[in-house]
Symmetry: C2
Subunit: 633 residues, 2 copies
């Protein structure tokens, strides 16, 4: 096959690709990071480029306006290279610097040290520093340096066994003598063994921080904990750079099998490092004082983090490489904290239910309650747990990233300028943005509100189609209906904020997948929604969903409102508990052991239930009415 | 200072040194390994070179014949570079290939699996391999690969806790699927934690070997153990290459402080690797099947092995860096066995009493006996332990390498061609060599015999001086008396085997240091030699000393013969027990904890006792008569 040379401007990077490759492949080869959310499916319309010379072919797309097409714009993912090319990459197409300042970080910080869960344990971080003033040796007491230090640490730390690496032992003699026998030891918990990870001169015990990371398929969130004062200092988030290889983990696992897991590990670790570096800089915390990274996420993300093969997760009988890896040196996977800092990848349940859900079970405390609880964690995969102190059963449903504001052209994360609330006032549809800024897009909670309001105002029907002539804010572009929420003149960037019929369909698909999964899981247990005493909704936007709107669109069942708890990002919340409280860390292991995975892929009736849920709120309106009667209980 | 360029032939290696440097320094800089045993003190006479052009200065030496001086021979260690030089290095000066075939290895093998110590434990090597046939996953049992493997190992191995490194976890999925779920796991003991060190396909459990090394100051001995059949396969030994930096550890520690410990680590590890490689080749054992290296030695050697600083060992208050390091990955220090094999550096007592003596205490079992025992381990340092099941006290005395056949011009290790026995027959002094080969030198046991015979035959007096006219086999060369044991015509290399007065003095010094240390230690305990029920003599040549001759020269006291046990190389013997039997390994740690170090350097009366012992057998003949009376008990 012929080779073609593609030169990207303004970078002036030239790469050679086979004729017929996509422009996106060429950009990946050139290591140009593109603001691409859909993984090359032609859905998000964000990989726009201008071909200034040379020949390309490609499918027609509704993502480009006639204006843009005239100017030579193409979607890189849908465009095939046919000759040598010159390509201009517009600024808005380039991925923004991944480290996002997030002035509005409170929204997903979950800085809730005052919750009961935080109060029930006594402080005992996974890594701690202890300051030691050591007796100087004399002839009558000339015990070797290493044994002298171990002896005093053993007295201070309560651990069955203790370990120390050769590099640390080598440094002890000098550390003792250059610091007048006053040193600080960093101790990390490796299962039931205490590892002396580091020895440094003087008293640095007051500076001990832990980075906690929720590795979502679409969004990565990092919190910085002060492990001395037991509180959250700050939080940051970014989109997962792996998105360039597909919106869903399945696609990424297929690519990983071909290209190797290392590429995915590299992208994930780079994102995590950028978040940690930003947190460290903004809070004047030295990276060397971050002594641990604690990570939760779905099982595929956990595998990518550790460079474990993922291919057996997606093949019968769906076997993970490891769901409970031991702690490792963070540097082993490239995470940049203290060079001897530890990486805790928290335990999950199975190939399709990860540590994000065990962390959620920990954070909500459903594993300790007598009453029955249901936890639904809404992410790119919806994960569901049902149970009590005696048993827990979990399942997973592929929802896609629509509810996170991704794969929606005007979608964005919950940050300043995102429309987070939509409501109707005297028949007029209005919206509110985060930080009351000029709107530039719409986030998950806004999308749920929007669908509910459009349905209630008669602008869309129960299948999500726009009803012709129902509003003067609807229009049809390239044969596809859309509703304009914000006119160009009112928005931050002079572009309209809108939602298309196909995007509405994506959102309905996502909520249907989640609802059907909950329903099937309960049916298997011979339970109904009315048996659930505590209904926890978790997810990046969990705190901010409007319950009534969520019920109106059928994302959650019509149950008594007082039973509904918005638990926020329980993945990061549980990971933070594990980071700061040994008891919580060990509880996670017990949760893992006592939880059963139920595989929906083996359930024939799941597809039926899913189809029934592809309406607003549901094909079976009776179901919602019946549940509604619970409200009177 | 002027630089001089020194070119060595036949290597044609040119180095630049400061004017005034020794030729030995220049050779070290050129990385030419010289057959140098005395560490540059002008004693061994083995660093002969010929200066073919240029100017040198240097002291007069008795180590060169007039013939040699005429030919331009110099001793590199005593010769100062004054200009650019050309230097010829004769073949006999170059260190022989360090890996010595040792057909006579039985002499120091200690292949004594039939001793009571070996019989009292049940087989449990520090590293073991277990073959696993693992149940294949199915939907109803799709536990993750890592957890599946750990579960079955936990059932097979009795360990409080288990660990596995990331690299191993990464390989499990492929190892399982490519080998039909039949794998072999290598498990290593790290204190009370069992580490899964390796996973390989198929059944390799029958191939598991451990290398055991005694790291002597002068001699390094390595044994290869079959850890499945619990026996010694083979043994090899070589001189310690660190000898080029001095005969005694103190000198090496001084150099290490200037040049860094790494140089000493490198030399030691290279020696160990060559021995292990030789053992592996000769016995058709793959290096990857050697899963552990177990090392015993004096504390300085232990420090050099691990790259630990040694400078505080020789300074008040004599503090070691570590006397009980945990197991490490052998590759961390460069030891070439299985890449994930473990290195066990056994626990010692203090900076001056190492794991060679704790291993000796283990091997002789004196820590388990009701009666009082004394163990003297004769090496370059003499180490002494006195005690019983309730207490043990130890000390160390610097003897020098004379008793090992080093720093004696005709001295050699106990290998083929070494004179190992000297005796008088009708007034004629005769000798016997190892393997009945033509003599080429004399080893430790031969030297003790020789001194005893020379004293008994009236050829030397009680201070070791040759009595003029006492024999036609004495002569004076360069003012120094010597006794010819083998005439040139009878020897292997056409050179006489002889001993000089100054060498006799070295041997007397060595035995005096050891005897004085034993005596002072017993005095402190208010004991005498007659209180000792078991008197163990250990050391490389321990098995072969003639008791009567050793008593005649005063190396050991005159005690009842049935109480004397030649225990051989108890350092390697104890290390082998620890390698193959967990109980023995843990006993070593208890021995370490229950043993007290007594510092002779702080004893004023030690020098007095040492001086009194500088005669044959002792200044105080009564002492020996008195002890002799014990024989009647």
């Amino acid at each position: 096959m012929t080779d073609c040379s593609v030169t990207f401007h303004p970078h002036d990077i030239r790469v050679t690709v086979k004729k017929g490759a996509t422009l996106l492949d060429a950009a990946l080869a050139a290591r140009i990071t593109i603001n691409n959310l859909c993984g090359g499916d032609g859905i998000c319309g964000r990989c726009k480029m201008i071909v200034t010379s040379g020949e390309v072919t490609g499918a027609v797309t509704g993502k480009l306006t006639r204006e843009e097409i005239k100017k030579g714009f193409v979607l890189a993912c849908m465009t095939l290279v046919q000759s040598d090319l010159d390509v201009e990459v517009p600024p808005e197409t380039l991925a923004k610097e991944k480290r996002i300042a997030d002035r509005e970080a409170e929204r997903f910080r979950g800085m809730r040290e005052d919750t009961p869960a935080w109060k029930q344990y006594s402080p005992s971080p996974l890594t701690k520093k202890i300051y030691l003033e050591i007796e100087k040796p004399e002839l009558a007491n000339n015990m070797a340096d290493h044994q002298r230090v171990c002896d005093i640490i053993k007295k201070r730390v309560n651990a069955a066994s203790m370990q120390m690496g050769l590099k640390i032992i080598q440094t002890i003699p000098t550390a003792l003598r250059e610091n007048d026998y006053k040193i600080t030891a960093t101790i990390g918990l490796r299962r039931d063994v205490a590892e002396v990870m580091n020895i440094e001169g003087g008293n640095t015990a007051k500076e001990n921080y832990i980075a906690v990371i929720d590795m979502g398929t679409t969004t990565i969130v990092a919190h910085l904990l002060d492990a001395v004062n037991m509180k959250t200092l700050d939080a940051k988030a970014c989109f997962n750079s792996q998105g360039m290889y597909g919106r869903e983990v399945t696609g990424r696992m297929i690519t990983a099998e071909k290209k190797g897991t290392e590429e995915f590990q590299k992208l994930l670790v780079k994102d995590i490092n950028q978040l940690i570096l930003g947190l460290s800089e903004d809070n004047s915390v030295s990276l060397k004082d971050i002594t641990a990274a604690v990570c939760a996420g779905n099982t595929a993300m956990g595998h990518f983090l550790l460079g474990l093969p993922t291919e057996n997760i997606r093949r019968y009988p769906y076997v993970a490489s490891s769901v409970a890896p031991p702690p490792f040196r963070a540097a082993e996977v490239g995470i940049e904290i203290n060079p001897r800092g530890l990486l805790y990848s928290l335990p999950g349940i199975s190939g399709w239910v990860g540590s994000d859900l065990t962390a959620g079970i920990l954070a909500t405390g459903i594993y300790e309650k007598d009453e029955l609880s249901l936890l639904v964690d809404i992410g790119t995969n919806g994960e569901i747990a049902v149970g009590n102190r005696d048993w827990i059963i979990v399942c997973s449903a592929s929802a896609g990233p629509a509810l996170e504001g991704a794969s929606v052209e005007c979608g964005m994360r919950a940050e300043s300028g995102a429309i987070e609330r939509v409501y109707a006032e005297n028949g007029v549809i209005r919206s509110r943005t985060i930080g009351d800024a000029k709107p530039k897009g719409i986030c998950g909670s806004g999308l749920i509100d929007l669908l509910s309001v459009l349905l209630q105002e008669g602008i869309i029907d129960r299948s999500g189609k726009i009803i012709e002539g129902s509003s003067d804010r609807t229009e049809t572009v390239d044969g596809l209906g859309r509703f304009i929420l914000t006119e160009p003149v009112e928005s931050l960037n002079g572009k309209a904020v809108f939602i298309t019929e196909s995007e509405i369909e994506n959102i309905i698909t996502a909520k249907a997948a989640i609802f059907a999964a909950m329903k099937i899981l309960l049916e298997r247990l011979e339970l109904t929604f009315r048996d659930i005493q505590h209904f926890y909704i978790a997810g990046a936007f969990g705190n901010y969903i409007d319950v009534e709107n969520a019920i109106t669109i059928g994302l959650i069942p019509n149950i008594p409102r007082e039973r509904v708890h918005f638990a926020g990002n329980t993945s990061i919340e549980g990971a933070k508990l594990a980071a700061l409280y040994n008891e919580a860390f060990f509880a996670l292991e017990r949760i893992r052991e006592n939880t059963t995975y139920y595989d929906l892929m083996g359930a024939n009736d799941y597809i039926d239930e899913f189809r029934k849920a592809l309406f607003l709120p549901h094909t079976d309106i009776e179901l919602f009415k019946e549940s509604g009667s619970c409200q009177r209980v």
